[in-house]
Every structure is written in structure tokens, then in C-alpha cells.
């Protein structure tokens, strides 16, 4: 078949990568973008004087051909297919060379689908103590906070390579962590008695290098004071919140500007609410309020309050103080506001889910509507019991999360996913070893589950959707 040479070779590019020849089109390479190595290479500014050449342009690239084949395939199809035997780390290194790492990331981590999660990997840590909290980064990385006296937070990028760990100044124990963005980590630490005054508190760090960015200080009556921070929240704009416990009358929630680190407010704990040593803070976009939940093991009773910082008011609050004695043994141990902002989901130490209606006054709504505990007993049956028995004293209280219209609850060594308006359990995520799950976190299209033993965390991802 005859085709004029001008059309047959126009835009065609011959690449010799580490001795293997690839032929493709300039358009395929340019599609990678001007700010990638391949895009720049075929850009006109680097090819002056070769326009008239009828032969296809030829380039030599001194890199590994097998990885290049995968990346060229990615550019051609948008899919990432890694052949068995090709180490992911090598592929990532090569992608970084070509400036294609972001593409690989988005091809690698498909859209988060709670119904199709697969265990991607288990990462073993090297810290002496077990992890106490895990937080997902917006880009798919995560950080693991280790309790005890080390004050260390292990940071992983989205390729699950460990970065420099973050040490809280003077190794104060870290209570909570939050990502402001993929490269900024916020930590809340405990003040230890007898130390000098800048012990504990809240600071932000570079997640890339572990350097301190800002120290978030609290002043009462214009006097800077040291404090213990127990929980953190970020409203996605520029306000950072932390539950702060200082001297006797210095309990409450502090607000800072995340860009400057300046304190912009302090919500003092009113009578009947517990704000100063909360387990969880959650910003509710729909109502512009902050949920403050203080839970049973830390205090004798559980409290949930919604704060409006614009007029410094408690717009809603609930506590189980004075619950009839027969129910006394059911304690809410974690709370999360559902994404529609209409209710708060609670879980007790028997893994029962309960709901509070935020649209009604807590006093008039008749308290928590506990759901039957049967769901977990039947679904994960004896296995949980045996596990618990095996764990002995090492029991972990259940944790909750709301994401993508689903509720997630960790119970024992598994995470249950509840869907729909009635919160029916639709899937269970369980991994083989590591013992009970002590914390989990969803973000960056991944779910991270931290196990209470073995110093290991599991990473759950959504595989790419089927082609047809």
C-alpha cells in the first residue's frame, strides 16, 4: 500500500531507550505535558532545524527500557499495567525521572470505592512502641503516631516509602495528627509535668523534611500558656482547631490561622460540656460548626457538642451523664458526624452503632437510638471472640469514620462498611495478622488500618474498574 512519505513519517518519533527501540508519535509524548521530560524533548524549542527532515526524529534515552515500556503504555492508554517482576519502586524512580510520577499516582490509585476495596499492602514499622493513631494524607500517603515517650510520627509518601520521621520538640507524646495539605502535617502533643513551658501543644511540620513550620501557641489574658492538645481539626479554609487542656480554668477549643500560626480565638469550656480533652474534633461544612466529642475511656461520661465560632455559642449538645443504671454499662467510645450533617453516629464498647439526631434538641430527641448488636455478632461471629480472647488485655475500642456516604466502623481486627439510609453492613475488610485495629483513616483514595500489635498497618485500595 502506498502512502506518501510525508504523512507516514509526520509526527513519528523513534526512541532508543537503553538499546531498545520504541516508535511512537510526538503527539503521544506531548500529551504528557510540557512540564515533563518527554513533552519538553519533542517540543519545538529543542528541535529547531529538524522540521524539514523527512525521516522520523530519533532520540536516545539512557534509561531502563522495561520501565519505559510501562510508562509509554500509560501515555498511550491512560492505564498503568505493571508486569510481574517489575519492582514498583523502580517504576516510581523511572516515572520521577520522566516527570510522570503524578500520572502514575493517579493511574495507580483509582477513585475510592468502598465496595471494591482490596488489600494492597501491609507496611511494617520499626518503632519500638506500637502505633496509636494513623492519618491518611490527601495525596495517598500517611503518618503513624507512636505513643509512649518517643514522640515520633512516622511519615510515608504515597509510594509508601518512609520519609524522615517527625519528632515533636523534646519528644512530647503525640495525641493526634492532621494533614493541612499533602506536605504539611499538624500534630497535637501532651504536656508533661515538670518540663519547661514550651512542652506539648500544637505544631505544624513539613511532611517532606520533618522540619517545624509553626508553633501554635495559646494565650490566656494575653499571657502565653503551655497546654496539652488532645484532638485536632481543620476546616479546609484557614482555621485550625485543637482541644486544649491547660490550667484549671483554661479548658476549651483554640483556633489558629494555619498560614500565620496566630491564635484567632479560644472557646472556653462552658458548664455541662467537655471541650478541653476531646477525643475527636470534626468540622461540619454544612452548618459551619465544629463537633467536639469527648468519649468514655478518657472521661466517666461521653459528651458531644456542636460549636458555632461566629457567635461563640454551643448550638447543640448531648451527654450520657445520668443515664439510667441499667444501661450504664453501654458507653459511647467514638463518635462521628455523618456527611449530611444531620446526625452523629456513636459506637459503644460492644460494637453497637447508635445515632443522635442533630436536627432535634438532644434533650427532647430521647437520647441515643442504639442499633441491635446482632449485626456484628452474626456477621463476624466467633472469630472476633476468639481473637479478643487471644488478645487478652490488648483490646481496642471500636473507631468510626464517615466517607463517601458510608459509615466505617473498626471492630476487632476488621472494618465494617455500612451503606444506605439504614446503614446496612455491606462489606467487611479483614487482614490476616496484626491483631485488633486500633485506628484507621481514609484519604487520598486509600484506607489505612493500623493494627494494635505487630507494628503493622494495612493499605486498602480500589483496583482499576474492569475494562468493560
Amino acid at each position: 500500500m502506498y502512502t506518501p512519505p510525508t504523512t507516514s513519517t509526520r509526527g513519528r518519533v523513534r526512541l532508543n531507550v537503553g538499546g531498545r527501540v520504541f516508535e511512537t508519535t510526538a503527539a503521544t509524548l506531548a500529551a504528557a505535558g510540557r512540564d515533563t521530560m518527554l513533552g519538553a524533548m519533542v517540543d519545538a524549542s529543542w528541535n529547531s532545524g529538524v522540521h524539514d527532515d523527512p525521516a522520523p526524529a530519533e532520540y536516545f534515552i539512557d534509561r531502563d527500557p522495561s520501565c519505559f515500556a510501562v510508562l509509554l503504555d500509560l501515555l498511550r492508554t491512560g492505564d498503568l499495567h505493571v508486569p510481574p517482576g517489575l519492582p514498583e519502586a523502580t517504576l516510581y524512580r523511572e516515572a520521577l525521572y520522566y516527570g510522570l510520577l503524578d500520572r502514575v499516582r493517579s493511574a495507580r490509585l483509582g477513585g475510592f470505592d468502598p465496595d471494591r476495596l482490596r488489600l494492597a499492602s501491609s507496611v511494617h514499622g520499626r518503632s519500638p512502641g506500637d502505633g496509636v493513631a494513623i492519618r491518611a494524607a490527601p495525596d495517598g500517603g500517611c503518618c503513624v503516631s507512636h505513643g509512649g515517650a518517643s514522640g515520633v510520627v512516622r511519615v510515608y509518601n504515597w509510594m509508601l516509602q518512609e520519609r524522615r520521621p517527625v519528632y515533636y520538640p523534646s519528644h512530647a507524646p503525640v495525641n493526634d495528627a492532621a494533614y493541612l495539605d499533602a506536605s504539611t502535617l499538624l500534630l497535637a502533643a501532651r504536656e508533661r509535668p515538670g518540663r519547661r513551658d514550651d512542652d506539648g501543644g500544637v505544631s505544624s511540620f513539613s511532611a517532606l523534611t520533618g522540619e517545624t513550620r509553626h508553633r501554635f501557641r495559646v494565650a490566656h489574658d494575653r499571657q502565653p500558656r503551655s497546654f496539652t492538645a488532645t484532638a485536632l481539626a481543620f476546616d479546609g479554609g484557614c482555621d485550625v482547631f485543637a482541644s486544649c487542656k491547660g490550667r484549671i480554668n483554661e479548658y476549651g477549643v483554640a483556633v489558629w490561622d494555619c498560614n500565620t500560626g496566630e491564635q484567632t480565638g479560644f472557646f472556653y469550656e462552658p458548664p455541662g460540656c467537655a471541650l478541653g480533652e476531646a477525643d475527636r474534633l470534626q468540622w461540619l461544612d454544612g452548618t459551619n460548626t465544629l463537633m467536639v466529642a469527648t468519649m468514655f475511656p478518657r472521661t466517666d461520661s461521653s459528651f458531644v457538642s456542636l460549636l458555632d465560632f461566629r457567635d461563640k455559642s454551643v448550638v447543640w449538645s448531648w451527654s450520657d451523664v445520668g443515664t439510667p443504671a441499667s444501661l450504664e454499662d453501654k458507653h459511647a467510645v467514638d463518635a462521628v458526624a455523618t456527611e449530611d450533617g444531620r446526625s452523629v453516629c456513636l459506637v459503644n464498647q460492644y460494637d453497637d452503632l447508635g445515632f443522635l439526631d442533630l436536627r432535634k434538641n438532644a434533650a427532647s430527641s430521647g437520647g441515643v437510638r442504639w442499633r441491635s448488636r446482632s449485626k456484628l455478632a452474626t456477621m463476624s461471629g466467633g472469630k472476633t471472640k476468639t481473637k479478643k480472647a487471644a488478645c487478652g488485655e490488648e483490646t481496642c475500642y471500636p473507631k468510626l469514620a464517615a466517607h463517601g456516604g458510608r459509615l466505617f466502623a473498626s471492630t476487632g481486627d476488621a472494618i465494617s462498611v455500612f451503606s444506605g439510609p439504614d446503614h446496612v453492613m455491606t462489606s467487611t475488610l479483614r487482614c490476616s495478622n496484626g491483631g485488633a485495629i486500633c485506628d484507621f483513616s481514609i484519604g487520598g483514595d486509600r484506607l489505612f488500618a493500623l493494627h494494635g500489635e505487630e507494628n503493622v498497618f494495612d493499605v486498602w485500595e480500589t483496583p482499576p474498574p474492569p475494562i468493560i
Binding site: 515533563t36 519538553a40 524533548m41 524549542s45 536516545f60 539512557d62 519502586a89 525521572y97 516527570g99 517532606l208
Partner: protein, 736 residues
């Protein structure tokens, strides 16, 4: 590299570690030399000999082997030295070539920067964020800013050149706008702060002084209209300039400079400019100039209020002259027509030139309200105007035209504070129209009533509507009367009675005159018929309001039908039995009140062409010693002769006083009713609040005088509706 064994086992961690083995420091130096050479070649437009892949790999290797800092610093130094050279070549560019050279070099630098960034992309991605350095592209821009734009030899020259070009363009020269656009875009690319500090601020300052000077020059030699044209043109030019070669953010700033210098600073002088200012524009209906003034002045603070204030004071002044000029008061119809014309004129100005601005409409309304009420005869005149229109003025006019005229009148009516006075007059005039059958169109009459009703409510027009009802009933009654009593009446004079409900009509109790016996008989028959059909009513003859058609035969047997008033009829009937009668005789026989009699005799004897009586001595006025004779020699071309009474259309001074008095009397019960209503709901109130509330309640009808309100309060206290508080004498209490 060594240690191949473990690597092959795919123990990745060990391989990665081995990669970071320190290389020969000379390797780094050598690699950097290659890259440095490449950077120079790129600046020299010599890049075609370079291999991108090779350079990229070299930079990658340097970063990989921890020479990122060396690479970055080297780049910074190399670029700095290149830019210093470039700066020299720009400095040496002569005159007009300066900007060209700067722009060409800027283009080169941008292109080079892009290629350098391509080579150093790996460094930009890995070394720069972890080491908190400035990304390559931004670094290139910052160095250009520091070494070119802020170089002492270029900085002020660039600014002066730009400002000079703009100045020349303002003076009418054509400049290279494309070049200007490139340069200002460069400044924006270097950061909004660079554009603002190094160009925009001085530009605005220079513009301010330019326009300050120019406006001074213009205002000395131009009239207001021309000045505004020039200002408008300048404003448009500046906006156009921004759209062509400045940053869009400058538009608001430069226009505010022009507005301030050319308009705000000269606002008052412009408005008051002799022979061409706002007042002259208003007088001459200069819609275009007025529209321009409005559009320009609205851009500056207090601009519109300045126009509005001057317009208001002009309107009040001319309006005041209009309503107080004694010449104008002679003809009420003309007077109102002038008001309407004035209103139309300014309505048009506001709609055409001032964009129907609400605040201007309000100013117009308040001005009219102000001056119309300066003349307390305005209510009467407006009513007379309507009277005139409804009597004859509307003949041939379509229904829509009638509506338009009535709507306009209603507009004036709305301005009246003493709406009750208007009502009084309107009632009188309507009564006359109805009784004399002069009204042209019943529909127009009713439409006017409906308008008054929507404006002032049912109460205001109930009596007027009553008048219409009376007219209708009278017609029915008369038909019935003649149907039943026709044989009885025989051949006597035909009677047409209007039965007027007392209270609805503006009747003054006047003693009836002596009617001729023929008439009297018929009247008595009607009375007995009417009282026979209606129980408990009383009829009183209003002889001062009727008319009569009588047949008269003159000297040569000429027969005429005379249309006269009832009084005139009574007088004329006397001459059936006598040829000459003295004034005294007539007065005695008819018992017509003196003023009315004089008026009716005047119209019978002194009007040319209608003088059916002859008077001795001949004179214009009637005196009590005159004698009257039947005028045998009366001739007229017409068979029907209408002898109108000499009626003052306008009220005479004493009548006016009387009407005023009656209005005042009518107001008293209304004020009292308002006071009682208010006190009934408030129980206790101080004097000033009562006055305020009463005024508020009654202002739809009239503006009560506080002194009168005080008197009414005192009267109510006397009659024990209210009492003064025992402690605080300013407080009144309601006594239920």
C-alpha cells in the same frame, strides 16, 4: 558501580542505597561545565547543537548525587551574569530603540528560561521543594526584575519612556501600542507588585497632574456642554487605553483619576457656569448635554446630588415665580396649563437625560409640592382647570386623550396639601356643570371621580357620587311627574326640577325670590306630587341655581327664545306688565338678593347683542337709581339667544374668604375626630406627639395648623373628652 550481585537479586533497598555513593567531585564540576555551556548557548540562540536528553540526564545526575545545591547556585550565578550583559546592551540602545530592545531581550529571556527549566526539570521537582528554593521559572523572573527592571540605568528610563509615550498619545500622536502592551505585560508577569510600584503608581500620579492642568485650561475657555464633551472623550480614551495595553485592574484606578480631576474638582463651577450651566440646559431642553452631565457626574461622589440640588432650587424658584406672578393668576386655566407644561418638560428631561432616576423624580415631585402650595388658590385653579376641560375643552378629544389629561391633573392634585379645599371647589364646579347641563362627557366625569376615589378613598368622593345619583333620580322623578300629572298641568310652562340632597351639594341657604305666578303654580303642583310620594321630606327652592327658556316677541314681531337664569326670568316676566321699571321696583317685586340682581341686570342690559333690556342712563354698571325698559329694538340673527349671567369664573375676594372659612369650619370636626381616635388608642399622650400624629393622619386631605389643633384640644378638654394630667401639664389623658 560495584556490588552487582545483590542488585540482581532484586533487593531494591540495597541498590537504592548504592546509588548514593559519592562520586568524584571533579565529575560534578565537569557536568556543571557542560550545563553552564548549554545555558550560554541557549542565550546565544545556539541551542540546535545541544542534546536535550543528554543535558537532562546530566542535571538529573547532579541532583541524584547530591549536587543539587551546586547546580542551583551555578544556575543562579550564570543567569545573573547573562542578565548583567543583557542589561548593558539594553542600556546602550538609543532613544526609541530602547523599548524595542528591552522587549526583544525579554522575549529571548523567556524562551531561554523555558529551555533552561526543561533541562533542570528534575531539580525543580525534587531538590527545589525539599530545599525550599525558588522554582527555576520564578527565579528567572526575579533575576530579570532585579537586574534589568530595577537596574539604576533602566528603571527610571523605562518609566519615563512609558509615561512619555502615553503623554504623546494623549496629545494625539500615534504610538506603537503592541510594544506598549508587551512591556506592561512583562511588568505584570514579573508580579502585580512590580507593575503597580514601577509603573501604575507613577502613571496615575502623572495622569492626575496632566488632567488637573488640562481641566483647568478647558474650564477657562469652554462652556459647560463642550467641557463635558471633552471630559467624556478623555474618559473613553483612558478606558480604551487600558483595554489596549494596560492591565485590566488599572481601569478603575485611571478612570477615578480622570473623574476626580476633570469632574469632581470642577463640579460646582460646571453646574453653575454662566450662560451654559445646568439651569441653561434645563431651560433650553438640552437633552444630550444633560444626559452627558448625568452620566459623568454619577461617577463621582456627590455628583448626582449636586445636579439634583441645583435642579431643585431652579424648579422651586421658577415655580414660585409661576404661582405668585399676579399676571398669571388672572386666568386659572392658563395657570394650570403652565404648571402641566412645566411638569411635562421636566418629566421628559428626567426620562430622556437622567435615565428615569428615582431620586430625580422625587426631587421634581417635592419641588412641585413646594411651590404649588405656595399659592393657596392652587386647589381652586386646578378644579377650575378640570371644570374648563370637562365643559368644553374635551370636545372632539378621544377617550385616551381625556384620560391623559385627567391623569396629569391628578398628578398636580397629589401635590396639593389642602386636598379638602380642592374637594370643596370641585364640588361647586361639578354642581354647576351638572345643573346647567354643561358637562360634556359623563364618562369623563365619572373617570375623574374614580381617580379621586383611588387617590383619596371612598369618603372623599361619596358626596360627589351622591350628586350624580341625585341627577339620575331627578330625571326619573320628572318623567314620573309628567306621566302622572300631564292632564292636570295643561298648557303651563314646563318644569324641570333637580332634587338635590342637602349636604351633597354646595348649596348656600339663600332666600327664594318671588317666582312669577305661572311658575309658582307648576311648582306647587310638583311639591304636592313629590311630598305625596316621599314622606317626611322638605323641599326648598334654590332659585339662584335654575335656568329658564322663555319666548319673547320684540318690536317688529321678531320672536326669540331666550335662555336665561331663573333670576333673569323673574325680572323679564315683570316686563310683561310694564314697559319701564326702576331698580328699586325690580328689587321689591322679585326679592332677588342685591348682588345677584345687579349681576343679572347687567347681563340683560349691558351686554352688546344680548341687551333685551334698555337702561337709563346708559352705563356699564348698575346703580340703584337706574331705570330699565323693554328693548323693542333688540335684534339678533339667532332664534335662540343665550343670555349668560356675568359670572366670575374665579371666585371674588369675599367669596374666597367665605370658602376658606367654610373649609376651616369643616376641618374642625375632622381634627377633633383624629384627636379622639388617637387618644382613644394611646390613652395618655403629650402635646407634641398628638400634633405629630394628627398631622400624619390628616395629611392625605390637608395640612392641619398646629394652632388649630391646639384649639381643638382645648375645646375637647372643655367638653370633657380629654383632661390635662394633674402632675405633668403637657400630658393629656383620654376620658372614656
Amino acid at each position: 558501580m560495584s556490588g552487582g550481585g545483590p542488585t540482581r537479586k532484586r533487593n531494591f533497598k540495597i541498590e537504592a542505597f548504592k546509588h548514593r555513593v559519592e562520586l568524584d567531585p571533579k565529575y560534578a564540576e565537569r557536568t556543571w561545565k557542560v550545563l553552564e555551556h548549554a545555558i550560554h548557548e541557549i542565550y546565544n540562540h545556539n541551542a540546535s547543537g545541544l542534546s536535550f536528553e543528554e543535558l537532562y540526564r546530566s542535571a538529573y545526575n547532579m541532583v541524584l548525587h547530591k549536587y543539587g545545591e551546586k547546580l542551583y547556585d551555578g544556575l543562579q550565578n550564570t543567569m545573573t551574569s547573562r542578565l548583567k550583559e543583557i542589561s548593558k546592551s539594553i542600556e546602550t540602545a538609543q532613544g526609541g530603540l530602547f523599548l524595542e530592545e528591552l522587549n526583544a531581550r525579554w522575549m529571548d529571556h523567556n524562551k531561554a528560561l523555558q529551555m533552561i527549566r526543561d533541562i533542570l526539570m528534575y531539580m525543580d521537582r525534587t531538590y527545589v521543594p525539599t530545599a525550599h528554593r525558588t522554582p527555576v521559572h520564578e527565579l528567572g523572573l526575579n533575576l530579570w526584575r532585579d537586574h534589568i527592571i530595577h537596574s539604576p540605568m533602566i528603571h527610571s528610563r523605562l518609566l519615563d519612556t512609558l509615561l512619555d509615550l502615553i503623554d504623546r498619545e494623549r496629545m494625539g500622536e500615534v504610538i506603537n501600542r503592541g510594544l506598549m502592551r508587551s512591556i506592561t505585560k512583562m511588568l505584570m508577569d514579573l508580579g502585580p507588585a512590580v507593575y503597580q510600584d514601577d509603573f501604575e503608581k507613577p502613571f496615575l500620579e502623572v495622569s492626575a497632574s496632566f488632567y488637573s492642568g488640562e481641566s483647568q485650561e478647558f474650564i477657562e475657555c469652554c462652556d459647560c456642554g463642550n467641557y463635558l464633551k471633552k471630559a467624556e472623550r478623555r474618559l473613553n480614551e483612558e478606558m480604551e487605553r487600558v483595554s489596549h495595553y494596560l492591565d485590566a485592574g488599572s481601569e478603575a484606578k485611571i478612570t477615578s483619576v480622570v473623574e476626580k480631576e476633570m469632574i469632581a474638582n470642577h463640579m460646582h463651577r460646571l453646574v453653575h457656569m454662566e450662560n451654559s450651566g445646568l439651569v441653561n440646559m434645563l431651560v433650553d431642553d438640552k437633552y444630550e448635554d444633560l444626559g452627558r452631565m448625568y452620566a459623568l457626574f454619577r461617577r463621582v461622589p456627590d455628583g448626582l446630588s449636586t445636579i439634583r440640588d441645583v435642579m431643585t432650587s431652579y424648579l422651586r424658584e421658577t415655580g414660585k415665580q409661576l404661582v405668585t406672578d399676579p399676571e398669571r393668576l388672572k386666568d386659572p386655566v392658563e395657570f394650570v396649563q403652565r404648571l402641566l407644561n412645566e411638569k411635562d418638560k421636566h418629566d421628559k428631561i428626567i426620562s430622556v437625560a437622567f435615565g428615569n432616576d428615582k431620586t430625580f423624580q422625587n426631587a421634581l415631585n417635592s419641588s412641585f409640592e413646594f411651590f404649588i402650595n405656595l399659592n393657596n388658590r392652587s386647589p381652586e385653579f386646578i378644579s377650575l382647570y378640570v371644570d374648563d376641560k370637562l365643559r368644553k375643552g374635551l370636545k372632539g378629544a378621544t377617550e385616551e386623550d381625556v384620560e391623559v389629561i385627567l391623569d396629569k391633573v391628578m398628578m398636580l392634585f397629589r401635590y396639593l396639601q389642602e386636598k379638602d379645599v380642592f374637594e370643596k371647589y370641585y364640588k361647586q364646579h361639578l354642581a354647576k356643570r351638572l345643573l346647567s347641563g354643561k358637562t360634556v362627557s359623563d364618562d369623563a366625569e365619572r373617570s375623574m371621580i374614580v381617580k379621586l376615589k383611588t387617590e383619596c378613598g371612598y369618603q372623599f368622593t361619596s358626596k360627589l357620587e351622591g350628586m350624580f345619583t341625585d341627577m339620575k333620580t331627578s330625571q326619573d322623578t320628572m318623567q314620573d311627574f309628567y306621566a302622572k300629572k300631564s292632564e292636570e298641568l295643561g298648557d303651563g310652562p314646563t318644569l324641570d326640577v333637580h332634587i338635590l340632597t342637602t349636604g351633597s351639594w354646595p348649596t348656600q341657604p339663600s332666600p327664594p325670590c318671588n317666582l312669577p305666578t305661572e311658575i309658582l303654580t307648576v311648582c306647587e303642583k310638583f311639591r304636592s306630587y313629590y311630598l305625596g310620594t316621599h314622606n317626611g321630606r322638605r323641599l326648598t327652592w334654590q332659585t339662584n341655581m335654575g335656568t329658564a327658556d322663555i319666548k319673547a316677541t320684540f318690536g317688529k314681531g321678531q320672536k326669540h327664545e331666550l335662555n336665561v337664569s331663573t333670576y333673569q326670568m323673574c325680572v323679564l316676566m315683570l316686563f310683561n306688565n310694564a314697559d319701564g321699571l326702576t331698580y328699586k321696583d325690580i328689587e321689591r317685586d322679585t326679592e332677588i338678593p342685591a348682588s345677584d340682581l345687579k349681576r343679572c341686570l347687567q347681563s340683560l342690559a349691558c351686554v352688546k347683542g344680548k341687551n333685551v333690556l334698555r337702561k337709563e342712563p346708559m352705563s356699564k354698571d348698575i346703580s340703584e337709581d337706574d331705570t330699565f325698559y323693554f328693548n323693542d329694538k333688540f335684534t339678533s340673527k339667532l332664534v335662540k339667544v343665550k343670555i349668560g349671567t356675568v359670572v366670575a369664573q374665579k371666585e371674588s375676594e369675599p367669596e374666597k374668604q367665605e370658602t376658606r372659612q367654610r373649609v376651616e369650619e369643616d376641618r374642625k370636626p375632622q381634627i377633633e375626630a383624629a384627636i379622639v381616635r388617637i387618644m382613644k388608642s394611646r390613652r395618655v399622650l403629650d402635646h407634641n406627639s398628638i400634633v405629630a400624629e394628627v398631622t400624619k393622619q390628616l395629611q392625605a386631605r390637608f395640612l392641619p395648623n398646629p394652632v388649630v389643633i391646639k384649639k381643638r384640644i382645648e375645646s375637647l378638654i372643655e367638653r370633657e373628652f380629654l383632661e390635662r394630667d394633674k402632675v405633668d401639664r403637657k400630658l393629656y389623658r383620654y376620658l372614656a
